[in-house]
């Protein structure tokens, strides 16, 4: 990592100070004259099975010990923020579906909530409840994917298939409502595209039971598995203070022991009216991160089940909506607790039908920027355990 010399630099690279979990180990080994070994630079990615996507890691190795690691990102940089400036708000809903492709619903939610707040539109009760319901289903979808892929990276292939067994059913459910398997584009400024199809709630509550029941499979295959524990417990410990400095949110921060979740701390939609917990880890290691993910699925299912009982009848769009969506001049930072953490949209409007500027604050970006901290001083096989538990979606990192 450059910046190590830092000549004439007032502030040295903070990621180098004061060490990661393996502080000192690397220096002792590499610096010893008796056992002087040659460092090896290993380039992992951008296309590598473990990076689930196109992240590149440049790691410096001493044997199998990682001395330094630098994530090289941008391989999925598609210029969302620039493109948002030339698209109107309707099109942006479809666009933002695609940056965190595993939680498309949560993304569009962030945008519409921001624009609605700017325009001071009152969203009908029913639409809000449906949004809450689908956002939680989307969270389950996302977390299932990561539960599967983490297992796969540690060599357990079956959880992945089980995860997709459930995912297919949930995707089918969401497809019935929204018409999309992954990219829903179901939200509109002010409400929803259309009402839920007949029988949706019945199917949804059946599915919630099924998924809750099948969570036991993951518990048996991963959480309760001795080898899995050996690979994850105590690996990649992240202190809460560091997690905050890097802006980590969601499961990563919660695993580090901070119960920060904007569904609780700054409730939007109907989260203040449902009962759920924010799971908090103890050690902030890979196992805790995974455990938090697992618990979040349970909590999401709990919210889903409460939504079934509470969805009122009524319209899904406000009665009077302007033809053209032109928010008044001003700015807003709309933040939602998306599947992987805080997804925020800083929208600057100059009264046009396109935003003047839309900054996307994505959880994966912050999570990835923290990776070098975790990796220093761990072994190459633990790289997988660490990378897999720092949940990120590459599109969400690079935007």
């Amino acid at each position: 990592m450059a910046g190590r010399e830092g000549a004439g630099v007032a502030v040295s690279d903070p990621t180098m100070l004061p060490g990661g979990p393996g502080e000192g180990i690397a220096l002792d080994v590499a610096g010893s004259s008796r056992f002087a070994t040659e460092e090896m630079i290993l380039n992992i990615g951008p296309q590598h099975p473990s990076t689930h996507g196109v992240l590149r890691m440049v790691i410096t190795l001493d044997g199998e010990l990682i001395i330094d690691a630098e994530p090289v990102i941008g391989y999925m940089h598609r210029g969302f923020e620039k493109m948002a400036e030339v698209r109107d708000y309707r099109q942006i809903i479809a666009l933002v579906n695609r940056h965190d492709w595993l939680s498309a619903f949560g993304n569009e939610l962030g945008v519409v909530l921001g624009v609605e707040a700017l325009m001071e539109i009152e969203v009908p009760e029913r639409a809000q409840w449906i949004r809450t319901l689908l956002a939680e289903w989307n969270r389950v979808l996302n977390h299932l994917m990561f539960m599967g892929s983490f297992g796969l990276e540690l060599g357990a292939m079956t959880p992945m298939f089980y995860a997709f067994r459930e995912r297919e059913e949930i995707q089918g459910l969401l497809e019935a409502a929204t018409g999309g398997r992954m990219h829903f584009t179901y939200n509109r400024i002010g409400g929803l595209k259309e009402d839920l199809p007949r029988g949706f709630l019945k199917e949804s509550s059946r599915l919630a039971k099924v998924v809750r029941h099948r969570l036991g499979d993951y518990e048996g295959l991963l959480l309760g598995n001795e080898i899995f524990k050996k690979r994850t417990v105590g690996i990649g410990k992240l202190p809460a203070a560091v997690a905050l400095e890097y802006g980590c949110t969601g499961p990563i921060l919660q695993a580090a022991g901070v119960a920060e979740d904007s569904r609780k701390t700054e409730p939007y939609l109907k989260y203040s009216e449902v009962d759920f917990e924010v799971p908090v880890g103890e050690n902030g290691d890979s196992f805790d991160r995974f455990w938090v993910l697992y618990r979040r699925i349970e909590e999401s299912l709990k919210i889903v089940e409460q939504c079934h009982d509470k969805i009122p009848a009524g319209p899904i769009m406000p009665g009077k909506m302007p033809k053209n969506i032109k928010p008044p001049e001003g700015w807003i930072y709309s933040r939602t607790e998306n599947s992987l953490g805080e997804t925020g949209y800083y929208i600057v409007s100059r009264g046009g039908k396109e935003p003047w500027r839309m900054k996307m604050r994505t959880p994966s970006f912050s999570n990835v920027s923290m990776i070098p901290y975790l990796l220093r001083g761990v072994l190459v096989p633990d790289l997988i355990s660490v990378l897999g538990s720092v949940f990120f979606v590459v599109g969400d990192v690079d935007r």
């Binding site: 450059a2 690279d13 903070p14 941008g74 493109m83 905050l244 700054e266 930072y333």
Partner: protein, 162 residues
């Protein structure tokens, strides 16, 4: 600490806040000069009353003739308060002191902002391209950077709802 109390406290403690802003939605922004950028940020980070331990994001907005507005969004996990620290830099040769010494996470955000807008972050230890490919020329998020594809051909689906 309410938004009002926070603003008063920071104003009093640092004396470097140019003006403050509270949006109708209750979001807080503190405007400072680039010279005071680090001072105010350090206060927000270190002062136990503020305790903005979380570096949420940093970016900029192209304000055309006014230059670029650099925004650092900070969050306090203890008081659940968020604040936008803003400063205005000129279009050319604009420079802001780096915040990497205060929050480790600032590094990536500043690198991104640097390549997207061309704003220099003085003192950043590793100011190199983050997202863009090495041969890429230009700062995409500046307004003068045009999307060539759109210049060549208007989007055929552009239609106003009637």
């Amino acid at each position: 600490m309410s938004a009002k109390a926070l603003i008063d406290h920071v104003k009093e403690a640092t004396g470097a806040v140019e003006r403050e802003e509270v949006t109708p939605q209750g979001q807080v922004a503190l405007h400072v000069t680039p010279a005071n950028w680090h001072v105010v940020a350090e206060h927000l980070r270190r002062c136990p009353r503020c305790n903005f331990s979380m570096f949420n994001w940093l970016s900029a907005v192209d304000m055309e003739d006014d230059g670029f507005e650099v925004i650092a969004h900070l969050y306090s996990a203890s008081s659940l308060q968020a604040v936008n620290l803003k400063t205005m830099v000129p279009r050319e040769g604009g420079s802001v002191p780096t915040l990497t010494g205060l929050w480790r996470g600032a590094s990536f955000h500043e690198r991104e902002c640097w390549e997207m807008f061309g704003i220099d972050f003085a003192g950043h230890p590793h100011l190199v391209k983050l997202l863009l490919a090495e041969p890429f020329v230009g700062n995409p998020l500046r307004k003068e950077f045009v999307l060539m594809t759109r210049e060549a051909k208007e989007w055929p689906g552009a239609k106003e709802p009637e």
